[in-house]
């Protein structure tokens, strides 16, 4: 700016431009300058607890999570409990699992709460995360219109997918499948099923006809799209139960090991992440696997939907081959990947 001012003074009386423009925007700025700060820290309402060394604004911990977890409201619910116990401003941004993992890789969040085991393993192996713990599960379900034009009700999942693609490709009226199409955990689960069914997802399923619709949206929006189109879709049970009242869809298939949907929490690690931040994030991991919170997760939604939206691991995760009991204490990746 000084440079501009000087050149302008020499040449002609452009300072007038500056004067007026400053006058024009002063009022705006007066209102504006304080904005971001007020908006940014609704933190100081709660007195800082023992965790916080100073009386200043609380430290923030940013969780990147999937739309299926936040659309059910579970994280909002847990956030309140966590903030009552720790003097931390827990913030949640909800993205598809693919995007959430990308944000975590860049070091832009402190915790990852997702449900895509293969992607999580890649993430861990690349050294981006520590203390991966599974904390809850439910089952994906195949939902569709009540008249079931492909006739998949009661089938085993792979058989159902084979039937949908067969009838879809041959143009059976009313047979559509809506995919998340956003590289989310649910989308990856869907790809898994296609591949397990014997179809190459990229070459044989995508772009194979009008029957296969890629939504590119979150779970809630995808369900609404499927409902509008009278199409089949793969959804996590929690989001489906949350949205069920607004949908013309019924659950058609909800059994089969391939439909298992495991949620995990990971502390994000980068070399720039301060140890204090990682320790705070570990507190959240330990919070999620603690017996009280496990019980709270199991109860979540039971009153409203008649059954819990998530089943807590409650220590019984050996059969899933994941860890849900070891306290999160590491502050850097160990050589043998956890």
């Amino acid at each position: 700016m000084p440079g501009i001012l000087l050149t302008m003074e020499r040449k002609n009386p452009a300072p007038g431009v500056l004067c007026l423009s400053i006058a024009l925007v002063t009022a705006l700025l007066l209102a504006g300058c304080t904005g971001p700060i007020q908006g940014g820290s609704p933190a100081n309402q709660v007195p800082p607890g023992g965790q916080n060394p100073s009386a200043g604004p609380k430290d923030r911990l940013l969780v990147a999570t999937t739309t299926s977890l936040s659309d059910t409201g579970l994280l909002d619910y847990l956030e309140r409990i966590f903030e009552n116990n720790y003097a931390i401003d827990l913030q949640v941004t909800s993205q598809g699992t693919g995007k959430a993992i990308e944000i975590a890789k860049r070091g832009d969040c402190d915790l990852l709460v997702v449900h895509s085991p293969a992607q999580e393993e890649d993430f861990m192996e690349a050294g981006h995360g520590i203390n991966r713990r599974c904390f809850a599960y439910n089952y994906f379900i195949v939902a569709g219109p009540a008249d079931d034009p492909a006739g998949i009700r009661g089938m085993e999942p792979k058989e159902a997918f084979r039937t949908i693609i067969g009838k879809g490709k041959s143009g059976t009226p009313g047979v559509f499948f809506v995919s998340r199409g956003d590289n989310s955990g649910t989308h990856n689960a869907e790809k898994n099923i296609w591949n397990a069914t014997g179809y190459n997802y990229t070459s044989e399923v995508r772009r194979s006809g009008a029957w296969y619709i890629e939504a590119g949206r979150g779970m809630g929006e995808t369900l609404q799209l499927a409902s509008e189109k009278g199409a089949y879709t793969l959804t996590d049970e929690g989001t489906f139960l949350t949205y069920r009242g607004r949908l013309d869809l019924v659950p058609l298939i909800d059994k089969g090991d391939i439909l298992l949907n495991i949620y995990s929490v990971i502390t994000v690690y980068t070399e720039d992440h301060p140890v204090e931040k990682i320790t705070m994030a570990n507190n959240f991991v330990n919070f999620l696997i603690s017996p009280e919170i496990q019980a709270a997760i199991g109860e979540y939604g039971r009153e409203k939907y008649g059954k819990g939206l998530f089943t807590p691991m409650s220590g019984g995760c050996l059969r899933f081959g994941c860890d849900c009991t070891t306290p999160a204490s590491a502050t850097r990746p160990s050589l043998s990947f956890t």
Binding site: V17, A31, Q95
Partner: protein, 228 residues
């Protein structure tokens, strides 16, 4: 139709009951977009003046680029600022990603081209008619500039209102840079996107009505200022 009507009824109930969450989101939207408009004006109006009052090679080309950027998609502006503010990016050490300050930067980047362009239009609108006369009457250069700017103020305010309108109504940059975090970066547009995706039509309509009301109040306020 019923759904739309019910949505409006519930929307007015929500507005009248002064739902605290709606108030909070509204205040945040207003502050962020006003701040962005202020920052953008501070940069764009002097810049526009500089381009207008000085002759230099490539001026026409520069103006064409600025006008092209009117069409800058909000998600592209958002992605650009995201990459810069990300911890892995050049300004990552500031820790501004997923904060309201980051959103102000994103919206400012988005509307600076529009404001520079409108400043140019405003200034060139008065040049021929007034400035010759002012200078012929023997006014010093700074007086001449002042007069020109006073003449241009209506168009300048028009530009600021346009910029504010683009800032408060955009959703792409706010979503990518802010992350739609409840209690921190959730603004009217990202909340509308979220509530719509969750099927809460009434809430979405209420937020939409509020957004338009804010635009009306701010526009009216700026109009009053410029009349003085």
């Amino acid at each position: 139709m019923n759904e739309i009507f019910d949505g409006f009824v519930q929307a007015f109930q929500l507005i009248i009951s002064l739902d605290p969450e709606i108030l909070e989101i509204t205040a945040r939207s207003l502050l962020i977009s006003l701040a962005a408009t202020g920052v953008a004006s501070l940069v764009a109006i002097p810049l526009g003046g500089l381009i207008h009052f000085r002759e230099f090679g490539g001026k026409r080309g520069l103006i064409t680029i600025i006008q092209t950027l009117y069409a800058l998609p909000t998600v592209v502006a958002g992605l650009f600022v995201f990459l810069i503010l990300s911890r892995a990016g050049p300004l990552g050490f500031l820790g501004l990603l997923f904060t309201p300050v980051g959103m102000v930067i994103g919206q400012a980047v988005l509307i600076i081209p529009v404001l520079v362009g409108m400043t140019l239009v405003a200034l060139s609108g008065v040049k021929k008619a007034i400035s010759d006369e002012v200078q012929a009457l023997g006014a010093t250069s700074s007086q001449a500039i002042w007069t020109i700017l006073k003449e241009a103020r209506f168009a300048l305010f028009g530009g600021i209102i346009l910029g504010f309108g683009r800032a408060i109504s955009e959703v792409g940059a706010a979503m990518i840079i802010g992350g739609n975090i409840r209690g921190s970066t959730r603004v009217l547009t990202t909340a509308i996107a979220l509530e719509t995706s969750m099927g809460n039509v009434a809430f979405s309509i209420a937020l939409g009505i509020i957004l338009l009301c804010i635009a009306m109040v701010v526009t009216a306020a700026l109009f009053l200022i410029q009349e003085r």
